[in-house]
Symmetry: C2
Subunit: 244 residues, 2 copies
């Protein structure tokens, strides 16, 4: 189970943003340490989207020490120590590395987010088990709290989202239909008197283009219709067997 | 070059959030179609972090048609078509797939984000070149505009961030130092009279644990110090060669 905790947030809007990201990525358990006032008419509920119905009202108020005791804790920090001389914010993992390492174990984990301006204190960081840092531009690596949380929860989605809104895979046309399309393209090249010496090259070019694009059944069907009509216009068929 | 456009945003705060994510991930060129009022004292500048100094004031107002003409356009949408019967929002790519496909070509690309509630219209979507959709929970796949933009720009970071704030790689201790640590662990097991029959197993267990953790030079040095002192306390050395 993966839970989320927000420690000492200043603005309730950020709590709402984090609650929304939690629901978007299949998480439910929100813990709050010293939260701001979460007025149902205020910004937390305003920013939470439909997480205002469950994640937010079901949030549990707790203490930092209780989190450390109950969970395998992971803190996020924009600023890391540069090297192995200091270990408060080092070594750290990227969110993608965290997802990978958590996928290999069974543990109740809590992702802990800190204050807006200063994040978690060094004392708090010393108590957590792992440190995560989002790779960002060296010029301006400090993400907004809600945005940082959104990215970390997004990266954990394979562990937390049971079913996405997406179909399993993009539907691709059958090889035989794509082959039929290539035959019709060849027919068109003949009908429009595309130079003999260039036909094979042009067909190969078209094959490479479609090969990269993985056409869907409908794309293939529609293009076949277009090529068929173009061929008919180019040279109206004089006997039945030319049209397929 | 990768640019970002926001079409017809209702709330200026979202424009600020997107500007901040742009700066966090190394992007600079922001285009606005029918933007809300961006008062320097208002929410856009309030949410932009240090992007208030460059990305936001340098934003260009333009039209949707101009974007389509100038750029390879990519739209993001939470809701996709389910299958190949309709092609307005299908096929789509995930943000990670987009990053991969853009890494293979040289093109001026614009990532286009739509309105808060309704996103881009089907008419607008029909004009863009690619559709991207963030995999999220089927229960609630609709991300907030600013959060969706943050994730897409985060995924493009390898194409846009020249240098992150992170060191190149976590510094790992030299193999010889780690080996020295294992020798000292063995010495400790002897000194504390760890059962003869279990020593090899316990050493192997400790070797596996450290092997997974890839200790830093400082971790290794510190643990060696602790083991050395523990060995000394367990059985004070009687002659010089026992201590290393």
């Amino acid at each position: 189970m993966i839970a989320v905790a927000v420690v000492d947030a200043e603005t309730s809007g950020n709590v709402g943003t984090i609650a929304r990201a939690m629901k978007n990525f299949g998480l439910r358990d929100l813990y709050l340490v010293d939260p701001p006032d979460l007025d149902p008419e205020g910004e937390a509920y305003g920013f939470a989207g439909s997480a205002r119905e469950d994640v937010l009202p079901n949030a549990t108020e707790t203490t930092f020490d209780a989190l450390v005791e109950e969970f395998h804790t992971v803190a996020t920090t924009a600023t890391t120590n540069e090297d192995a001389r200091k270990h408060v914010r080092y070594p750290f993992e990227t969110p993608a590395e965290l997802a990978e390492s958590l996928s290999a174990v069974e543990t109740d984990t809590c992702i802990v987010f800190g204050r807006e301006r200063v994040g978690l204190t060094n004392e708090e960081l010393a108590q957590v088990d792992e440190v995560v840092s989002i790779p960002a531009s060296a010029d301006y690596p400090v993400l907004n709290l809600g945005q940082a949380a959104t990215i970390v929860l997004y990266e954990l989605r394979d562990l937390t989202v049971e079913e996405t809104q997406h179909p399993d895979a993009i539907e691709r046309a059958d090889e035989s239909d794509i082959d039929g399309l290539h035959d019709q393209f060849a027919t068109l090249l003949e009908r429009i008197n595309h130079p003999d010496g260039k036909r094979a090259k042009t067909r190969r070019l078209f094959r490479r283009l479609l090969g990269r694009a993985h056409p869907t059944p409908r794309e293939t069907r529609t293009l076949r219709g277009v090529l068929r009509r173009a061929s008919q216009f180019a040279e109206p068929p004089t006997d039945g067997d030319e049209e397929r």
